[in-house]
Symmetry: C2
Subunit: 253 residues, 2 copies
């Protein structure tokens, strides 16, 4: 019997009233998802929660238990609404301490920016036992505790933290994908999609319709960890579309 | 004793592998959040789950029990990866039936588009006992069952469904907000923010920093259901910033 390859999963908690009010359009879900994919890790679930300690604690404890990795974004700045570190520490049952290296980083960063005040020192606070994730933009580091990664909410800063983590996490096979576009109503090819998926075990085909100036089209995204299975499934779908008189556009529309 | 005004809450489940893979940047969280705010309902939590029945069932049952309303987006098309209706019905413990009015709508919509096929009829399936939410763009309706609203994933179609629901839900006082911008590091005014918030019970102040061509600024968002408290808190914050030599920019930067 051949063992299935181990699939590594992650969850993400987006923390912030500004997302739940609609004031800020989240950009971290997509960028964390894409980055995880490159590490061979699948983003399995996301929760967006308010700046509210019980909500964060519940999400942290549920999601870390059932995923290999847990990421959070938001709530690690110096102001009173930044409660992520305290909430994660509460979820873990550990105290919050000032990390000496984080203090040194902030001392350096603020040397020419008015000095390290007590307020700014809040950004050196971590759950006891945590390590740091470098932040090349604004000094204040992200935090790693076991399988939990606590990151900034500002997308450019989050991106820098992800960059610093690239290649450091254990992952599995990357989930590969091909996109095939077609000017066709998805309802016309629904059966073809299902038959093609079933004929290629280990693939999933997603169908994403769009309406563009009166024309209807769809993109079909085929996913598999196996490049040969992926290619075979793509070829079969393209052939099936062509046989219906619907030219396939490789790469999508 | 004065009773606190009743706060109405909603949760949103975004359903779709395309969001979790990062292929598609979600736009529904922000638009549902803003629309709910206008109805006097607060978006309390969001979950993004895969096209996976157990994941949808778990999210539906947890979130509908603890919120006044539950919304879902995604997974109500005609293809094999559209499993939302079946999953919600499973969560509710009811069967799935073809809704006669939905069938009529689809018959009309597809009259000039190749006719109503068995595949397209999938989009008339609803949990037994459900009502319809009009879709003025592409025929296939959204679905309302008790306090659950099942909507499309394509943002323009979702917007049309929200529009059709406007004014029909019971909500409470709208959460009002003012944004005040300032070219200041948030760490410099963290104490002012906290003191101002505490001096105005019933307000929350969020602080959202940004970095722009070497300059650092922040927007402070003050929220309250009471317009007078909101105005007083805004005035106090503006005065506090001015007293520190930091001019406030009403409306934000």
């Amino acid at each position: 019997m051949v063992e299935s390859p181990r699939i590594y999963t992650a969850a993400l908690i987006v923390i912030g009233d500004e997302i739940l009010s609609g004031r800020t359009q989240d950009k971290n879900i997509a960028q964390v998802a894409i980055w995880l994919g490159l590490q061979g890790i699948r983003l399995k679930e996301v929760r967006v929660v308010a700046d509210d300690t019980p909500a964060i604690v519940e999400a942290v404890n549920t999601l870390r238990a059932r995923n290999d990795y847990l990421f959070t974004t938001g709530g690690i700045g110096p102001t009173h609404d930044d409660i992520t570190v305290d909430a994660v520490a509460e979820a873990l049952g550990v105290s919050v301490v000032v990390h000496p290296e984080a203090r040194d980083i902030l001392t350096g960063y603020y040397e020419t920016r008015g000095g390290l005040t007590e307020t700014r020192l809040r950004m050196a606070r971590v759950p006891h036992g945590a390590a740091l994730i470098p932040n090349r933009y604004t000094g204040a580091p992200g935090i790693r505790y076991d399988n939990i990664f606590i990151m900034a909410g500002v997308p450019a800063i989050t991106a820098g933290m992800l960059d610093a983590l690239s290649g450091t996490l254990v992952g599995g096979s990357k989930l590969l994908s091909e996109t095939i576009g077609c000017w066709v109503q998805e309802s016309v090819v629904a059966e073809l999609l299902q038959v093609t998926e079933r004929a290629h075990p280990g693939t999933q085909i997603g169908s994403y319709p769009f309406w563009n100036e009166g024309r209807t089209g769809a993109n079909f995204v085929i996913r598999s960890v196996d490049p040969e299975v992926l290619a075979a499934c793509s070829r079969a779908l393209i052939a099936g579309l062509e046989a219906m008189g619907k030219p396939a556009i490789f790469g999508g529309i």
